[in-house]
């Protein structure tokens, strides 16, 4: 019998059984396809994310804030990572003596920590910020529940108070608040990036998936400051401020060749590393932001202009007797009647009457033009926050009295840095250069303001002013020829002049044969007896200039003979 003839094979099954089976299979398939479509189509992103979260992590790439360096590459401001300790108050649980250990490590009373954590409305409180990494590591070892750490930066200023006003400082979040830190925030600031990576079971990074944002390190800023000169300037200024019991003071050192600021210091100052008790007066960068009536330091500009325009010659005689000059309602006085003086002697003896008479021979417009050319009334554009433009009124409103008083630096306001820059005109044979706080690659082109001969003649006169017979013999330096001018002015208060409050200043350059440095010194309210610029500010100039020339290796241009000082009591006092 053949297999096909066997009876069971020939039993006819009901045809619905096959159909039911087919339908069931089809339904099962449809369910699978539907589920697959659902997972792949609708839930894809969610599942992908879930899956990735098992192994893929986004990590931050930290970026440092750039350093601030001096011209010789010495670090003046450096950021280094520190930790902030924070907590989720609801989750914090101290076991055993953990609170006491934490308090001890953070140098905080335990009560203070408790108080911060009691604020349960918030789910994030800082316990302490800017904790040194070693301390933070020991806190991590305590393994306190609910207490975490995150990375932040702290900026250190090794120079401390010496550089405080130039550098400024950063806030707790490492952004600039003052000075260079604020002015160059864009360059200094780094931008942290992030990237996605795959981590294995042990937490090791095994693969880079993508870079979400590239980190950008902050760029270093190289200043024009020379920290050796800066220290010198700061130290001598401080000594002078203390010796003269002055309220404050400022000093600027400018390289006459490149226009770079080699030093800039202010008193009172502060320590940028510890700003717990900071007052507004300490913060002020007076050299740049405060203006004052310069007084006699402006006379050389009046005389230079008169020489330049051919109104006078160095030997022209000006009659200053009887020591007073009345213009309209006002009377200009000299400290001592001087009689007939040559133009040179007007500078040397610092005669107000002489300067006023010379000024009245010129138009207000030409005088204003020179003031504008040398940068009075214009911000010096160093990039510092809050640079003062000073005050020079438009020449159309000048009355003869005002023109006369402006010739010796009254009725006009300038900042110390403007004054120092203006003197580069004499130091550079009549050219002026833009000044810079950052190191310049090559000297910028100058802008001619005075004829070369005029500037050289002014240097001769300014040299006479520091010799015996001038107002500032104490500005002399052994081995170098020096030129400069003193200024002593009553302080302005409540719209008038304060009777016995003075601002004493000295601006000068050396070596006079080929000037390299211009230094301006200002002391605010010297109150230990002496207040003349020649007695108070000139010695600071002399000390700093001598030191700076030595540091910079500038060859001497005068014989090494002891400097001559006039006998006590016979000093020439300038007119105030």
């Amino acid at each position: 019998m053949r297999f096909a003839d066997a009876p069971p094979v020939n039993v006819r099954l009901p045809s619905w059984r096959a159909r039911v089976l087919i339908v069931l299979f089809a339904a099962a398939f449809a369910a699978l396809v539907g589920r697959a479509a659902y997972l792949q189509g609708f839930k894809h992103d969610f599942l992908q994310a879930k899956g990735e979260s098992r192994y893929s992590r986004v990590i931050e790439i930290p970026a440092n804030r750039g350093r601030i360096l001096d011209r010789n590459g010495e670090a003046l401001a450096v950021s280094t990572p520190v930790k902030s300790i924070w907590a989720i108050p609801d989750e914090v649980q101290f076991e055993g003596r953990q609170l006491e250990s934490l308090a001890k490590l953070l140098e905080m009373p335990p009560r203070e920590i408790r108080k911060r954590l009691d604020d349960t409305d918030r789910d994030f409180v800082y316990i302490k910020r800017q904790v040194p990494p070693e301390v933070a590591d020991r806190i991590a070892d305590l393994r306190i529940r609910g207490v975490f750490q995150s990375r932040e930066y702290r900026r250190y200023y090794p120079g401390g108070e010496v550089m405080a006003h130039v550098l400024g400082f950063t806030g707790v979040d490492d952004t600039g608040q003052e000075g260079i830190e604020l002015a160059f925030q864009g360059e200094l600031a780094g931008r942290p990036g992030s990237r996605r990576v795959i981590k294995d079971r042990m937490g090791r990074i095994v693969e880079d998936v993508e870079s979400i944002r590239a980190a950008q390190e902050g760029r270093d800023v190289v200043l024009s400051l020379d920290s050796r000169v800066q220290h010198l300037a700061f130290q001598h200024l401080r000594q002078a401020v203390e010796a003269n019991r002055a309220k404050g003071g400022g000093i600027v050192v400018i390289d006459a060749i490149t226009g770079e600021l080699l030093a800039l210091a202010n008193l009172p100052t502060y320590n940028p590393n510890n700003r717990a008790r900071l007052q507004g007066a300490q913060l002020r960068n007076r050299v740049v932001t405060d203006t004052f009536e310069p007084g006699s330091t402006l006379k050389p500009f009046t005389v230079a202009l008169a020489l330049d325009t051919g109104k006078v010659r160095p030997e022209t005689v000006i009659q200053t007797a009887p020591g007073t000059l009345t213009i309209g309602p006002a009377t200009i006085r000299d400290a001592h009647p001087n009689g007939a003086l040559t133009v040179r002697q007007v500078i040397q003896k610092s005669s107000n009457v002489g300067a006023a008479k010379i000024a009245l021979g010129m138009t207000p417009e030409t005088m204003w033009g020179l003031f504008d050319d040398v940068g009075f009334g214009v911000p010096p554009r160093l990039g510092f926050p809050g640079e003062a433009p000073g005050k020079v009124r438009p020449f159309k409103t000048w009355k003869p009295t005002e023109q006369a008083t402006m010739s010796y630096g009254h009725g006009i306001a300038v900042s110390l840095v403007q004054l120092a820059r203006a003197y580069t005109v004499f130091a550079r044979d009549g050219e002026i250069v833009p000044i810079s706080l950052t190191k310049v690659a090559s000297p910028p082109p100058g802008h001619r303001v005075l004829a070369e001969g005029t500037a050289r003649e002014m240097r001769v006169m300014l040299e006479m002013a520091v010799q015996p017979g001038g107002t500032a013999p104490r500005a002399q330096i052994m081995g170098y020829r020096v030129g400069g001018k003193t200024g002593t002015a009553h302080k302005q208060e409540h719209g008038g002049y304060a009777a016995n409050k003075y601002i004493s200043s000295f601006v000068g350059f050396a070596p006079a044969s080929n000037p390299r440095l211009v230094i301006a010194v200002m002391l605010d309210e010297p109150s230990a007896g002496e207040y003349y610029g020649g007695a108070v500010a000139a010695p600071v100039f002399s000390q700093v200039m001598a030191g700076a020339l030595r540091v910079l290796g500038v060859p001497p241009d005068a014989p090494m003979t002891p400097i001559e000082l006039p006998a006590p009591g016979s000093e020439v006092r300038e007119s105030v």
Binding site: P62, N64, R67, E74, A75, L76, V78, S79, T80, P81, Y156, P158, G159, G160, V162, D200, R204, I205, V206, E207, D208, S227, R228, H231, L232, Q235, I477, M478, G479, A546, G547, R550, P555, P556, M560, P562
Partner: protein
């Protein structure tokens, strides 16, 4: 035909194992790279701290103070300076 298939299967298996091995190797190397990068970063931080330390120790006021107090040095004033002309060979250096 069957022999060719077998050969291809073998090649596939070898390639697959090769892929897994090289992936594993790549990951190991990457871990190493990451470790070195972390070390570089740590060294960078340390460098910054050392720079800071150097600046602090080498502060001019501190050096001047130590030189004056411990070594009894003082600035060469003009009286003690001999100026050698620029034309004197090497003597200025």
């Amino acid at each position: 035909m069957a022999r060719l298939s077998l050969l291809l299967l073998l090649a596939l298996a070898v390639a697959a194992i090769g892929l897994v091995t090289s992936q594993h190797k790549a990951r190991k190397l990457h871990t190493e790279l990451e470790r070195e990068q972390a070390r570089a970063q740590a060294l960078d931080v340390e460098w910054g701290q050392l720079q800071l330390e150097q600046s602090t120790w080498a502060m001019h006021s501190r050096v001047a103070k130590l030189a004056g107090e411990r070594l009894r040095m003082r600035p060469a004033d003009a009286k003690r300076t001999v100026v050698v002309g620029a034309d004197a060979p090497e003597a200025t250096k």
